[in-house]
């Protein structure tokens, strides 16, 4: 029997730059293959080439590129169009951007049906409802008429999958299908993809996170710099990785035994024992206290919606307090209240024991300098025309450094603290990688020598390997500067790794709080247990542990 997909020596280049450099693999019917690697490794371009859409200006060459035994290297756009959507389905990441925001999702799902079948309008509508039902979307008739922005992230992704499988394709390509989703939702979407594998023939899933695909994939191909560096059965790759890069990727995933150790392989020879991160001095005096905070916002219909209710917390010098919860749980509002960017309806925030409200605007400004923030996406918090020099220089100016050599020296010093150097001074945000941008954001936060840095989803937009480096950097800086972190994330694995204590939030309330190890090993609340069960784990289906993270 012929392989569903046969790729030998695939090369793709853009304007002379080779992005995919001799990739070979096969995919059988009923099989799931995962392409894993960091941004820029060529995995997305490889996937797009498989539907004949490598991108503008791409040059594709392959010794062999066969789909179901047919050579597709000579395909024209016209021949490709008969395959795309009909025999090969394609699911991109982040359905918010991958579904046309101006059309109801039902019409998007019906599109391949209109292109590839002779169904009439009524038959298509009926099929759309069937499809939505089959991907687990409740009330298909209602949902089909809604626009992407009216659906939750999980439902959106399901709708996108429904549009990809509308014509019952033999091959389904999924490029980072769960990256923009909360852990529990991501898990459901992965299970959905897994359930489709049987009837769709083959599944090729692309991700930067080995832990995500481990659950689903039969085989894993690890990509780096346009090449596949390791290819094998999932279990073998996870248990006994051969290539140093695979080992580094595995080590980068925060897991129960990695807490208190470095995640990134940058300063560590491969295969040596885990290196502990420097342990910070025991937590000191409270620097930031919140007492029974409450905040509500008017909804679109004018009725007040409670964003934060009865939230109390204490952050001490040099410690990390994690706040974990899904989108809309009130984490970010809590952070804004703590920073004094919002005024609570009730309750009080104290900085060094003084309530925000008791301060004059002048004093508030002085206090605010001691609280800094690092956002999820530094690109949107930097002026794209500013150089790194100016981004940090501006923060130093606010902190009282006059223009001149002292400021310049301090800027370089800050860059060195975040493991960059003076060579980055002239760069602009778009000329930096995601990890470098986040380092600059940290350097900017450090400019004012703050006591507290609020990290709002600081690693959520990053690849696992880069995430590991940033988490290590934050740990190093804390040990050195005794800065306290308020670490907000929807990712439990990350929070567990980075925090000393943790608050679990849901619907604006704190469900559970305490020492991070005890919350994770002995969760008191059902919701916490649910969250823990959704953490992607570096184990295969056959060896799925029944116990939550931390229990051994």
């Amino acid at each position: 029997m012929t392989s569903l997909l046969e790729v030998t020596g695939l090369k793709v280049s853009f304007h002379g730059t080779t992005v995919v450099d001799g990739v070979s693999f096969t995919l059988q019917r009923g099989e799931c293959l995962a392409l894993v690697g960091e941004s820029g490794s060529g995995k997305s371009v490889t996937t797009r080439t498989l539907v004949g859409l490598p991108g503008y200006g791409a040059r594709v060459h392959a010794e062999r590129l066969r789909f179901d035994g047919t050579d597709v290297t000579g395909f024209t756009d016209r021949t490709w169009r008969r395959v795309r959507g009909a025999r090969i389905g394609f699911v991109l990441q982040d359905a918010m951007a991958s579904l046309d925001p101006l059309r109801p999702v039902g019409r998007e799902i019906a599109e391949p049906l209109a292109l590839h079948t002779s169904m009439n309008r009524a038959a298509r509508a009926a099929r759309v409802h069937e499809l939505l039902h089959s991907v687990g979307v409740p009330e298909p008739e209602v949902r089909a008429a809604q626009y992407p922005h009216q659906l939750s992230g999980g439902l959106r992704q399901r709708a996108l999958i429904a549009s990809a499988i509308a014509c019952g394709p033999e091959l389904l390509l999924a490029d980072e299908p769960t990256t923009a989703l909360d852990a529990t939702v991501a898990l459901q979407v992965l299970d959905l993809l897994g359930s489709l594998k049987g009837n769709s023939g083959g599944l090729l899933i692309v991700s930067h996170d080995l832990a995500v695909v481990a659950r689903l994939a039969d085989r894993v191909a690890v990509m780096k710099n346009g090449r596949i560096v390791e290819l094998g059965d999932t279990e073998a790759v996870l248990q006994d990785p051969q290539h140093p890069y695979t080992k580094a990727l595995l080590a980068a995933v925060p897991s129960e035994h990695a807490k208190g150790t470095r995640l990134s392989a940058v300063e560590r020879p491969a295969a040596s024992a885990p290196v502990s991160v420097p342990v910070p001095a025991p937590a000191g005096t409270p620097v930031l206290t919140a007492v029974e905070l409450r905040k509500s916002f008017p909804g679109p219909d004018g009725v007040a919606r409670i964003a934060v209710e009865d939230v109390s917390l204490t952050l001490r010098a040099g410690e990390t307090l994690g706040i974990v919860g899904e989108s809309g749980s009130g984490k970010s509002t809590t952070a804004r209240l703590l920073l004094g960017l919002e005024t609570p309806d009730a309750g009080e925030v104290r900085v060094d024991g003084t309530p925000w409200t008791a301060l004059t605007p002048e004093q508030q400004r002085a206090h605010r300098r001691r609280l800094q923030i690092v956002y999820q996406d530094p690109l949107s918090s930097f002026d794209p025309r500013y150089t790194v020099d100016r981004v940090i220089g501006e923060a130093l100016g606010v902190a009282g450094y006059p223009r001149g050599t002292r400021r310049r020296d301090r800027t370089v010093e800050l860059l060195e603290m975040v493991a960059l150097d003076a060579g980055y001074l002239r760069r602009r945000p778009l000329e930096l990688s995601g990890g470098q941008r986040q380092r600059v954001a940290v350097a900017r936060a450090l400019a004012a020598e703050p006591e507290v840095i609020v990290c709002d989803e600081p690693v959520s937009a990053l690849d696992v390997s880069v995430q590991a480096q940033i988490l290590d950097l934050l740990a190093d800086l804390q040990a050195r500067l005794r800065v306290a972190y308020l670490f907000i994330s929807h990712d439990l694995g990350v929070v567990y790794h980075a925090s000393d204590r943790v608050l679990v939030m849901r619907q604006g309330r704190v469900l559970e709080s305490g020492d991070v190890r005890s919350v994770f090993t002995d969760p008191q609340h059902d919701y916490t247990r649910e969250l823990l069960a959704a953490i992607p784990r570096l184990t295969t289906r056959s060896a799925q542990p029944p116990t939550p993270l931390g229990v051994s």
């Binding site: 925001p101 599109e111 626009y147």
Partner: protein
């Protein structure tokens, strides 16, 4: 009251409709403000600069009316009243839809405008349609397609930088004088409309095409375009079905610019092709200091703007449903 009650009940279960109704209500109020502002500003401007309206009313070429005649005219026109009195009087009449009487033509301004309106509306609507269609065709067909992109863009830049009357003269030389296929001037028949329409449409269409292409190229980078293509859709169809609608938001935003271009261009085009129309009316009103006529035309133009902007606002909510529910 009953209708209002009924409307309220109708709207009650529909937050979307309520939101749209609210939007339109606010814009209507703003529109009234704009009209008032336009009327007031032009009233002030004209009374500061216009010279003796009574003289220009009775004075034909070389006439020399007596003081008695002038005084009589002033009384008739209310020009002997204090300025604020004239202003309030003017506003009061405006509220009743009365734009006053033309000094020169001695008919109601509204009548003069409505007599000329048909011709100009024909020209403006034809030109707007041609401009938008040309812009859409140029942008959809050439966005991200070299070398067509550069060629189209060069032509557009040239056209948008060329004054309307130059375009008109060139068209006349080519099609009327040299090829002799189209009439030089006049108002009769669709053939006489072709050259004026092109003259008016080309520079506006060129600017729209530039904006639309830029917008389209940005939209074509979006993941949902890739998704649509991965379903097996033809590139040009993807552009029309998915990308164009996003880019059109930008064109709708520019409809203020389009209306302005059409009104200003109509004056020049109608003069050049010796066509009757509001543009001609405006030109003669300004040159003869026909104050009620100028004021009437300004208020009328402002009214057109307000109506167009209201329609634009409704168009937004139709094109982009996110604006309502967000």
């Amino acid at each position: 009251m009953t209708t209002r009650g009924a409307t309220a009940t109708l709207l009650a279960g529909h937050p979307t409709l309520v939101a749209i109704a609210k939007r339109i209500g606010v814009r209507l109020l703003a529109g009234v403000g704009v009209l008032w502002g336009a009327a007031t500003l032009s009233f002030i401007a004209l009374h500061v600069t216009a010279g003796d309206a009574a003289l220009s009313t009775v004075a034909g070429q070389g006439a020399n009316p007596t003081k008695e005649v002038l005084d009589q005219v002033r009384r008739d026109l209310g020009l002997d009243q204090p300025l604020y009195h004239q202003y309030l009087d003017y506003l009061g009449r405006l509220l009743h839809g009365d734009l006053g009487r033309s000094y020169q033509q001695r008919i109601a301004v509204s009548q003069a405008i409505s007599e000329q309106l048909g011709q100009t509306v024909q020209l403006a609507v034809a030109a707007a349609a041609v401009a938008v269609l040309l812009a859409i065709a140029a942008a959809v067909l050439t966005a991200r397609r070299r070398p067509w992109r550069s060629i189209a863009s060069g032509v557009e830049l040239t056209l948008s930088a060329t004054p309307t009357f130059v375009i008109g003269i060139v068209l006349l030389i080519v099609f009327s004088f040299t090829l002799k296929v189209l009439p030089v001037s006049g108002n009769d028949g669709p053939r006489a409309l072709i050259l004026p329409t092109l003259t008016l449409a080309l520079p506006i269409g060129a600017v729209l095409a530039q904006v639309l292409r830029g917008e389209l190229e940005e939209v074509l980078e979006q993941p949902f375009i890739l998704t649509a293509r991965s379903r097996g859709m033809r590139d040009t169809v993807v552009r029309v079905r998915h990308a164009l609608r996003h880019a059109l938001v930008q064109i709708v935003t520019m409809s203020g610019f389009v209306v302005g271009g059409l009104l200003g261009g109509a004056v020049i085009t109608e003069t050049l092709f010796v066509r009757q129309g509001v543009g001609q009316l405006m030109l003669s009103a300004v040159t003869t200091k026909d104050i009620p006529m100028v004021l009437g035309l300004v208020v009328f133009a402002a009214f057109v703007y307000v109506v167009v902007n209201l329609l634009v606002d409704i168009a937004y909510t139709v094109i982009d449903p996110r604006l309502v529910t967000r």
